[in-house]
């Protein structure tokens, strides 16, 4: 039998009960739209968090002493990089490198007259392009200068929570390279608002020269951090800058915990994707079963005319295909529309942004187009819908002609 006629019968059967067909189609569309928005949003979160982490903390490549451990924030000389300025200058000459700068990290306690808070001290080269995002997010005062011996910058969120004002003095305490507590008084020169709450809450910047003298590290640094023009060059640059006694780490290694965390989180989202698709499948199966029950006598007629079971099945699967394809087209339109909206306006994360220290989220997260993911979602929705139609189709094909003809 010409397939076109099976398509025609399938299509006309669907428009016979327009309301039911419309709501089924809408369920497919909304299910797919939900999946697209959800996945676009997740892609946005992943990208935002990863880029924030690279931009504000890890860079694309870091050179450290072989013995340096991220978790210990050691200030012992053996764990630090010697002559970091030279290494940074040499790296900066590479065409792939956009910025290279040494940093000295230290755990510190910020004391006010009434409170003490644990923070991360970043000894930085203020002129480096690596800090352009922080420079751009300055909301009060000035960006610290390289020769400033008594000034620091803190995040707005920290300033607000401790009631600190620009120009006010704070005390910082750290355990220096010799393992001895060191305390200094510093004036707040600038307040920044990067939008990444874990930085705005827990980071204090000072010039590296002052940090080195404060922590007694000489001219050593914890790391030389590099930003590249293209993150795909990370392995190549890492291989070029490594040297005996040093280790070069790429952004993948530096963000391993974060990437692993996100990988685990993604598996939950896949389960969620699966649940939404199953709901769509149940709705389609239900609609087609209803359509079969309504047309049992008609199935008997077709069977009496000599239509084979295979053809009856094909007809029902065609019906599922029409509903699914129409639903998928509508779902793509709705889903992509919402994603486009969320790429422009973003989603305000509020307190949620700071709730996970390993995931540096911005206060406003923007969705991201993930064409490959969206295409797979559409394909899977179609496949699941077709699979869901198999039982109703099989049921219709197995109807005995005599019983079907005499059904009321």
């Amino acid at each position: 039998m010409a397939w076109t006629k099976l398509w025609v019968i399938a299509y006309r059967d669907l428009i016979r009960n327009r309301r039911r067909t419309f709501f089924t189609l809408l369920a497919v569309a909304l299910g797919l739209a939900l999946l697209i928005v959800l996945n676009g949003f997740i892609a946005g979160i992943l990208d935002d968090a990863l880029q924030n982490s690279i931009r504000l903390q890890t860079g694309h490549v870091q050179v450290r002493a072989e013995t340096y451990e991220d978790s210990r924030r050691s200030l012992q000389w053996k764990d630090l990089v010697e002559q970091p300025g030279e290494i940074a200058a040499q790296a900066a000459t590479m065409p792939e490198v956009a910025a290279a700068t040494p940093i000295l990290w230290a755990d510190t306690i910020l004391n006010t007259s009434s409170e003490s808070v644990g923070m991360q001290l970043y000894g930085i080269e203020p002129d480096s392009a690596f800090y352009d995002p922080i420079r751009a997010s300055l909301v009060g005062g000035n960006f610290i200068e390289a020769n400033d011996r008594g000034g620091v910058m803190i995040g707005k969120r920290m300033a607000d929570s401790l009631g600190l004002k620009l120009g006010e003095n704070v005390s910082l305490t750290t355990i220096n390279a010799d393992g001895v507590p060191e305390e200094g008084i510093f004036a707040i020169r600038g307040i920044f608002d990067s939008g990444v709450l874990v930085y705005d809450e827990a980071t204090v910047f000072m010039p590296i020269a002052k940090a080195q003298s404060f922590a007694l590290t000489g001219d050593r640094a914890s790391t030389i951090i590099m930003l590249l023009h293209d993150e795909n060059d990370a392995d190549q640059v890492a291989a070029a800058v490594t040297a005996p006694g040093l280790q070069a780490l790429t952004w993948r290694e530096l963000n391993a915990v974060f990437l692993e965390t996100m990988g685990t989180a993604m598996s939950f989202y896949w389960i969620l994707d699966g649940i939404v698709m199953l709901i769509v499948a149940v709705i389609i199966a239900n609609t087609l079963l209803m359509a079969v029950f309504e047309r049992i006598r008609e199935m008997g007629i077709l069977s009496a005319l000599g239509m084979k079971r295979r053809q009856v099945m094909q007809m029902m699967i065609f019906e599922a295909s029409i509903i699914s394809l129409a639903g998928i087209i509508l779902g793509l339109a709705i889903g992509l529309g919402f994603v486009a909206l969320l790429t422009q306006n973003g989603f305000v994360m509020g307190e949620m942004a700071g709730s996970t220290p390993t995931i540096p989220l911005s206060a406003v997260v923007y969705a991201k187009f993930a064409p490959e993911t969206f295409a797979w979602l559409a394909v899977w929705t179609f496949i699941i819908a077709l699979l869901a139609s198999l039982y109703p189709a099989w049921f219709a094909a197995r109807l005995e002609p005599v019983k079907a003809l005499h059904a009321s």
């Binding site: 007629i301 000599g306 003809l405």
Partner: protein, 228 residues
Amino acid sequence: MAIIELLDTSKSYRIGEIETRALDDVSLTVDSGEFTALVGPSGSGKTTLLQIIGCLDKPDRGTVTINGKDVTRLNANGRADMRREVIGFIFQFFALVPVLNAYENVELPLLLNGVGAKERRERVMGLLDAVGLADRINNRPDQLSGGQQQRVAIARALAPRPLMVLADEPTANLDTANGEQAMEIMKRLNEQTGTAFIFATHDPRVMAYARRTVNMLDGRIVDDSKKL
């Protein structure tokens, strides 16, 4: 030439605890071109006999040979092939596909038989013309009267040029005028095409058209007579 041969055919149905013998050792031979009425009261086995001849159902016992082939040995697909190629059906409730128009309903069995587009069109238009519905080809069943629907069903039954048309109470849902018109058309097409018509009925006016009358009672053939 015999196109239908039933030998000692029986069929029982079980409804709850009660078993009803719908056909009881029925033997019957029908030749090509016959215009035969199966008559008898309700429950006499007429419809069951038509369903078994029409390969819609299988007997419990006995053999049923259609066009030289023992159809009791066929599987579901084989019976579907037989229905598609050599049997046309006309039902009491018209049984048109509601989403297809008159033309498409008549065309459907031709599509199932793989008839080419040009020949399909010729046959469909010829048959709709023969049943007086050439001007209603685009009407769907719900836009046709009962009589018109049954005429479309007659055209559809004849479209694949079957050896036989089986009609179960074809006039039961029609008024007298439409019933007579349907019978006249069937009789004329029987004479023109040579297709055998076997129709179940208990309407004396319909019986009057038959050249052969097979009388049934309690699942048995009790009388089989031909008009001279």
